[in-house]
Amino acid sequence: MQVQSMFFKRTASEKLNDALLQRNMANLKSKFVDGRARAITEIEDWEEIRTHAAALRDRTIANLDAYLVEFERNATRRGARVHWAQTAADACRIAVEIAQANGVRKVTKSKSMVSEEVNLNERLEEAGIQVVETDLGEYILQLAQEPPSHIVAPAIHKSKEQVADLFEAAHHKPRSTDIPALTQEAREALREHFLTADMGISGANFVIAETGTTLTVTNEGNADMVTTVPRIHCVITGIEKVIPTLEDFATLIRLLPRSAIGQGIANYLTLTTGVKGEGDLDGPEQTHVILVDAGRTRLVGSDMQAMLRCIRCGACMNHCPVYQNVGGHAYGWVYPGPMGSVLTPVYVGIENAGDLPNAATFCGECQVVCPVKIPLPDLMRKLREQQFETKQRPFGERLALNAWAFMARRPRLYAAFTRIASRIGAWMGGRDKLIHSLPGIDGWTKGRDMPAPAGKTFRELYRERRPSPQPSRKGEGA
């Protein structure tokens, strides 16, 4: 999708005033935040598993080349074909070529954020291929012609009433707002597509080197239909998804559904290895795995490398107070929330990411809940450093920062400045000691007053009260 991240600030403000969105976003807390809090109590050594998983991911990333080649060898041995896509465009070209070479006219898809990242649907449709999203959330958004606003719950920003409107228009059935009924309607609509698609496209939560397996973690079972029924199965995923062994998967799966949706285990763990074997009743005749780089190798060895640990659980956004209030669309690209505020600048260019690295108070919740301990605030801060060093922040902001820095290093000048500022502030505050508007920083005073300074600084008062020349004094109790 087109990057709109440079408009974050404006879009976020619009979203804050979107009453319906605000109501819909309330589900996030009750479903995911409370759910995760409960689910992690089921595991005694949660913190140790996090530490172990972070180290496991680091080790894998450090040897990414070796594990990817091992995966290719083992997947190929089982009859799959592995394709290497250096760019987003390469990934789409490969997928379209596979489809065209096999006369594919209809594709069913299970959820894949990488396919969103590379604009796969658009490219397939341009080639005259029908694409049907089969994850319920993605299906809703395909009808609404909207991008996902969350990496796990793509339609979290929609209410059941909005879904009912979309389904009524698409399915030509009496409008219902009953969730089981809506789900049944989607099942019925999708069933025919599952059975008539020529190719299924899925993402992969992990790719296992030792077995050549790709796997999906889902709750709806649609991935099984996508990966098993059509004659061709095409997996598209990022190169960082590789893990060494099945045993490692056993570790990570303890973390993923609990962090993502507060479930001990997802309803479906679908492991796919190679093609339909002799005697198998189901399975694809061809399996293709497109391993996408699209900027990932640039992160290896950089100070952003920890971001490659990410297992796409969405816990960082679920807990982020900024995301909770503005939703995912404000972030302007595929990945929202804290992980998106890091991934967007590093994948599409920091010059296209606008305020994203600044879209955080550094409250630290994301880092606390991240199952693989990605230091998200630190990574965002490093991006801020890049923006500051390359003068990508507004002139006024840089000027203020430089002026502050100049004074803070010069105590006398600083004392003189704060002395004046305290007096002016106290005068501005007037009788109720509140400043109602501050020229230049209306970001604060548009929605808040500023409690006024006292009129004298601590430094001044301390001097008045402790006139002795030496800077210290024995305490009264000593």
């Binding site: 879209a359 548009k446 409690p451 004094r473």
Partner: protein
């Protein structure tokens, strides 16, 4: 015991009373308190805005000013986090001065942590009547584990703690974030104020002036001129000067 008081730039400029409350508490407990006059700021605003070199320069300045103190105490969790975590783990991680910053970090305490866990003070000069609700500031809570200490002090001074919903949720201050992304920041402050209002408690305490200004600013804008927004040090001390 020579204790350096790091006043913090916000307390110095906006609410000096917090500095005197801290001073009074430390001296009352028998500490010899020094307040280096040249101190300005720990560098956090620059650090979090990407101005790394400036924040390193200010860190060196802080180190020089408090080098000969047995302890350094600050009435702020976020400045303390800056010194205890970010100086060591990031700004001077690979620098020759790292060991010195590690020593500074080990001697550096947030005020409530110092009063409860180092001085182990039992009696407090201030007497608090009634209920207080407490906002946990993010850096203090998640970087250096300030949670029980201020509550403990408030209880010892007679307060009943009435917890609000989501007391650990960010109030939206975030330093320069509050100005750069003012609308989002304001919404977060409004959410915090709603949680405060739901308690019915008329005194909200915290340990970081930035958050307190944000919360108070929003409460007042919403027309609440009554609820007191205070640093816990102001409540547990009798020193209300400045």
């Amino acid at each position: 015991m020579k204790v350096g008081l790091f006043v913090t730039c916000l307390v110095d400029l906006v609410r000096p009373g917090i500095g005197f409350a801290a001073l009074g508490l430390l001296e009352g407990a028998g500490c010899e308190v020094v307040v280096p006059e040249a101190q300005t700021c720990c560098g956090q605003p620059g650090y979090n805005s990407g101005a790394r070199e400036v924040s390193q320069a200010l860190a060196r300045k802080v180190l020089a000013e408090f080098r000969d103190c047995d302890y350094v105490v600050a009435p702020s969790g976020s400045c303390s986090g800056q010194v205890k975590v970010h100086y060591v783990d990031d700004l001077f991680r690979d620098a020759p001065e790292r060991a010195e910053f590690e020593r500074l970090a080990a001697r550096w305490y947030e005020l409530s942590d110092f009063l409860v866990n180092v001085l182990k003070i039992e009696s407090l000069p201030g007497r608090i009547e009634g209920e207080v609700t407490y906002h946990d500031s993010c850096a203090g809570l998640r970087e250096i584990g300030i949670k029980a200490q201020p509550r403990e002090l408030l209880k010892r001074a007679g307060a009943r703690i009435h917890e609000m919903n989501e007391c650990e949720k960010c109030c939206g201050f975030g330093g320069t974030f509050s100005v750069k992304l003012g609308d989002i920041s304001t919404r977060m402050a409004a959410n915090k104020c709603a949680n405060i209002r739901a308690t019915g408690v008329k005194t909200i305490a915290g340990g970081d002036l930035g958050c307190l200004l944000n919360i108070e600013g929003r409460l007042r804008r919403e027309g609440d001129m009554e609820t007191r927004v205070v640093h816990y040090a102001e409540l547990i001390s009798t020193d209300k000067h400045g």
